[in-house]
Symmetry: C2
Subunit: 311 residues, 2 copies
């Protein structure tokens, strides 16, 4: 158990629990709270730190702003929810180009129909951007703990593109121009996956409507995030293979962060395939098993080592 999750687990024991089983408080992608009659209110927050989650020598402040908004919206996607409103708080050094930062925040806000309704602005030695988002859901949100043995495991897209994009940006910055056979458009796709990731809102909704039993967004890497689902659900994971984005490595697909694709479990393949009609089809990668200790891919064990922010 990594330090971040150990700390969260310790803190969890000290905080009050929700009053009934219709609510979800700490421990899932988003909190599930009583809503205005037709469904619950979802609520999530994520923090992006310059130098930890974004290297400003490689991407711009507008990209950091976009990413901060998308990271929080991705938590709503992972519940099968739709965005409603956002609060943005920025702590940063004097001279920070706030206009550029907010260009990226506002662009993502427009793209996902999630207006920024308030926030805070203050000084700090490093740039820290926190976005809190609310969402709505016209049904039961998909939590992490609902997977059952026999459920199929899916991902919403090939993985590793963001990590591969970052690797290529670093190589370029270091003056490495070794050709690797990737087309310009494939290379551009990888850069964009890193700088301007997408929140999989339609895919999360489709998975929910298709009967997904558990879901999480892949922000820390598939191995780590899918392990959270397995732990919360008390199931094992027997993966057959993992789809790798063109230009990425298997390690990047398994352990790279920031893809913001979704991984989910569901008992029925047919209902999932129907629900994704009109969207890019999700990919089946394995099965949930009854041995909660199982973590295998193609018969070999894998470790839940993803991207660890708290280092």
């Amino acid at each position: 158990m990594t330090s971040e999750f150990a700390a969260i687990a310790r803190i969890l024991t000290r905080l009050p629990q929700p009053p009934d089983s219709t609510q979800v408080w700490i421990g899932d992608d988003a909190a599930v709270l009583p809503g205005p009659g037709y469904g619950p209110t979802l609520w999530a927050a994520d923090t992006v730190v310059a130098g930890v989650h974004a290297d400003l020598s490689l991407t711009g402040l507008d990209d950091l702003g976009w990413k901060a908004m998308t990271a929080s919206l991705s938590d709503l996607a992972a519940m099968g929810a739709e965005p409603a409103h956002a609060l943005v708080t920025v702590a940063g050094p004097p001279g920070t180009d706030l206009d550029l930062l907010y260009q990226g925040l506002a662009a993502a806000s427009r793209e996902y129909g999630c207006p920024i309704v308030g926030g805070d602005l203050t000084g700090a030695a490093v740039l820290v951007v926190t976005v809190a988002v609310s969402g709505t859901c016209d049904g039961d949100p998909v939590v992490r703990s609902g997977a059952r043995p026999g459920d199929l495991v899916w991902v919403s897209a090939p993985l590793g593109a963001a990590a591969a994009g970052l690797r290529r940006l670093r190589a370029r910055a270091a003056g490495d121009s070794t050709p690797d056979g990737l087309s310009d458009s494939d290379a551009e796709f990888l850069f964009r996956a890193h700088a301007r990731p997408s929140a999989a809102i339609p895919e999360g909704r489709a998975a929910r409507l298709g009967g997904a039993s558990a879901m999480i967004d892949i922000s820390d890497g598939l191995a780590a995030d899918l392990s959270h689902v397995a732990e919360a659900s008390g199931v094992g994971l027997r993966l057959e293979s993992v789809p790798v984005a063109r230009g990425a490595t298997t390690d990047e697909a398994m352990g790279g962060g920031d893809d913001y694709a979704l991984t989910f479990c569901a008992p029925e393949a047919a209902t999932i395939e129907d629900a994704f009609d009109g969207l890019v089809r999700p990919i089946r990668i394995g099965t949930c098993t009854s041995d909660p200790a199982e973590r295998t891919i193609a018969g070999r064990e894998f470790a839940p080592t993803g991207w660890e922010h708290w280092v």
Copy 2:
């Protein structure tokens, strides 16, 4: 106009406005959003940065946690709203005593009946704690822009205690033990005002029920915060005097930050006095005037120079 407010004003022009006049987005203490039938949902976030808003050589991480929660709750108080739920995001260096920090957060959460339902935890070179809170209001929230010429101006408590407490903590840390005639209990009150400020939730509700036309919490100093109300309302300010907490100076009362008392305007004194029945009585300090440029106290001009976080 200071840099923080200049930046906010610039950014405001770029972001969408609310769809109708029942909603308030950026620019007030809290956003006012559609709620579950019986009243709106309020939503606010504040950030506390170690070394900017709290000197960890003088107070503890539990105090910083308490203050982060209270600062956000105070934004709800300033609308006349009641707390509902909180999200806590923490970015900080490895080795940060998260247990101590969350002790303070959890204590304030219990005190104000505002459970922590989610959040995020990540690494950063400095400790930055953001608390987003939601609230409810069984009536129209009190915004900043409703003051009219002739309205009376009030504060919910004598001011400057937090700034005086910080000054005395600094003097003690510097080895200064010059007696200043303050009793131990008065000194303790000042320390506590700095380390464990209160959010004036009952006072904000009373002001709203008593017909307050405009309200704000005094987080940046009375002169600065009341000037925000005057600007938003298009009125002038003619103050007679300002109540100073025992042991504080007039400068600390006018310009010290972090008191988290409320200042509000109201047309009728009688309804305010009735509504505060059972609470500490608010203090009348002046009148709103029709000259929007007027900022006087006892006939002398004052400048809206409060505590400027973005420096």
